[in-house]
């Protein structure tokens, strides 16, 4: 049986307790708000893309459950220093991982640390928590003024 520890792996607990890239960036050229009205999770992401199209810095602020905070923290680590042009593919890859069939084994080679979040598939009501930050970052990337939601 799927155990709680598969969802709340140590990595997630740890990122929840001490989220990476937390707080407002001093210099940023993109930002967006995300809100999950069902749980009251609120996120704000800041993004600094340099002239070479590289995500030079990324951070987030806000409050939410362990899944949403850890996911945001892991996301910032995963995209920091990568070309903005690759974001869309990363977004799709993450979205796929958390909604894929349970039998599908997440490709850790490609997903890296993000794979620890594949456990949310077992908890349909919690998938939203994991993807909120990705939707918010997408809004920031596209400079959307709308508050990101997960639906």
């Amino acid at each position: 049986m799927f155990e709680l520890r598969d969802l709340y792996q140590q990595v997630i607990v740890d990122h929840n307790k001490s989220p990476r890239n937390f707080g407002k960036l001093e210099n940023y050229n993109h930002e967006a708000d995300g809100y999950n009205p069902l749980c009251g999770d609120r996120l704000h992401v800041y993004l600094n893309v340099n002239s070479d199209g590289l995500i030079e810095a990324v951070s987030f602020e806000g409050e939410g459950c362990a899944i949403s905070v850890a996911s945001a923290s892991l996301m910032t680590e995963a995209v920091k220093g990568t070309p903005l042009s690759e974001f869309s593919a990363k977004f799709d890859m993450f979205q796929h991982m958390v909604t894929a069939d349970l039998e599908e084994v997440p490709d850790e080679e490609v997903l890296g640390k993000l794979a620890v979040l594949s456990g949310v598939r077992e908890f349909p009501s919690r998938i939203k928590c994991a993807v909120l930050c990705w939707h918010t970052l997408k809004s920031a990337v596209t400079d959307s003024d709308e508050v990101a939601k997960t639906e």
């Binding site: 709680l4 709340y8 069902l38 749980c39 459950c65 362990a66 908890f123 928590c129």
Partner: protein, 406 residues
């Protein structure tokens, strides 16, 4: 009647199951209660034996369906001590009942410059319809503040009340905090300035006895599904003298007497407010649920639920890192709380895997969350079939959650 917990539990088939290999502990009664076998049977029986439309046929089934539907109205009128059955309007639930009053009574009686007074602890369903009405007619919505225990500040209520107040909307028992409000005093003071009062009894009606005549309440609303009855049905109980003056809420079949293209003559009460084919099986199930409550009796119910809340509260008070949200002197059945280092939403998931069902979220009372500066709370809500052992299971599961996040 003696309260026999084992017998009561046996009345609710859903309770007898395991989740993840552990016995189900259902502590989300404020969201909806479980249904006793007699209610399930009454609904099945209606569909198996009596199904027909009401008030429309002369055939036997239609007469049976009508008798069942109107019989339920009678049971409900008796339960709330309404003056007569014409004061009992079936709706889809508390929400629709409030919308009916806001739209029909409010539309005809609230004008620009008037005030509608609600409280800080209302469910969204007793906020938004009034907001919409006020916006529409140019009236002002005022809010009675609450204190740190989650009680209404009555001095502030009296100050906010004025000749401009047309209606006071107040929740009888808060779903987010458990607070039981002094509605009798509120009604008296509101009437003194000429305001009408709507009491939202969605939470209260299954837990405390309500006598609409003794209270002299103008509008009392509730939902069957929080009273061991089915979803999709509820009531508005209102003074006939007021209902008579109110325009219809929706138009259609059943609510009319004569229709021509020039003019429609509306039906008598209560049908004037029941357009269209109603939720017949729902009403029948609702009536049966009320008979179930009556068979146990509020003396036994209140005593038992007080005992259980006291047991849970004592545990909560000594639980490390737990902060209760809502500690009113007068409260019932609800233990709302936050736990240091564990978000309510994570608690909800972790407790679920221990087969403990609670609600985590804002409980449709976002202003309450704002007041207590929390994004959400975890809420265990009790009912007459819950046991001390289930409270123990709740706290054991909370310990487990703390361990996961340690």
């Amino acid at each position: 009647m003696m309260f026999d917990i084992e017998k009561v539990r046996a009345d609710f088939p859903v309770l007898d199951q395991q989740l993840y290999g552990k016995p189900l502990v259902y502590l989300d009664n404020a969201a909806t209660t479980q249904k006793p076998q007699c209610v399930i049977d009454a609904i099945s029986h209606y569909y198996e034996a009596d199904n027909a439309n009401v008030h429309r046929g002369v055939h036997t089934l239609s007469e049976r369906a009508t008798a069942g539907y109107e019989g339920a109205r009678k049971i409900i009128a008796g339960f709330f001590n309404a003056r007569c059955e014409r004061e009992v309007i079936f709706t889809r639930g508390a929400t629709e009942a409030i919308n009916l009053v806001a739209s029909s009574w409010g539309g005809a009686n609230v004008r620009a410059g008037d005030e509608v007074l609600i409280t800080h602890m209302e469910h969204h369903s007793n906020i938004v319809p009034w907001q919409m009405l006020c916006e529409h007619v140019g009236a002002t919505l005022k809010v009675v503040p609450i204190n740190a225990q989650g009680e209404l500040i009555m001095e502030a209520f009296e100050e906010l009340l004025s000749e401009r107040t047309r209606l006071v909307g107040v929740v009888h028992m808060s779903n987010a905090l458990g607070t039981i409000n002094p509605i009798s005093t509120i009604i008296e003071k509101a009437h003194a300035v000429g305001a009408k009062v709507l009491v939202d009894g969605a939470q209260a009606a299954a837990h405390v006895a309500v006598d609409v005549q003794a209270l002299d309440v103008d509008f009392y609303v509730t939902s069957a599904h929080k009273m061991y009855g089915p979803t999709g049905i509820g009531v508005l109980i209102a003074k006939e003298s007021i209902l008579k003056t109110m325009p219809p809420y929706q138009g259609g079949g059943d609510m009319i007497r004569v229709v021509t293209f020039d003019k429609t003559e509306f039906n008598d009460l209560p049908y004037k407010f029941e357009a269209g084919t109603p939720h017949i099986s729902g009403a029948i199930g609702f009536g049966r649920a009320i008979e179930y409550i009556q068979s146990i009796g509020f003396d036994a119910i209140e005593k038992r639920e007080k005992e259980l809340l006291a047991y849970a509260t004592a545990k909560a008070e000594v639980f490390d890192g737990l902060r209760q949200i809502g500690t009113a002197r007068e409260k019932a059945c609800v233990l709302s709380f936050v736990l240091d280092g564990v978000h309510p939403h994570d608690l909800g998931t972790i407790l679920d895997r221990e087969a403990v069902a609670i609600r985590a979220g804002h409980h449709c009372a976002m202003p309450v969350m704002d007041f207590f500066k929390v994004p959400a709370t975890a809420r265990a809500s009790f009912s007459l079939y819950n046991t001390e052992a289930e409270v123990d299971a709740l706290f054991a599961a909370l310990k487990k959650a703390q361990e996961i996040f340690a």
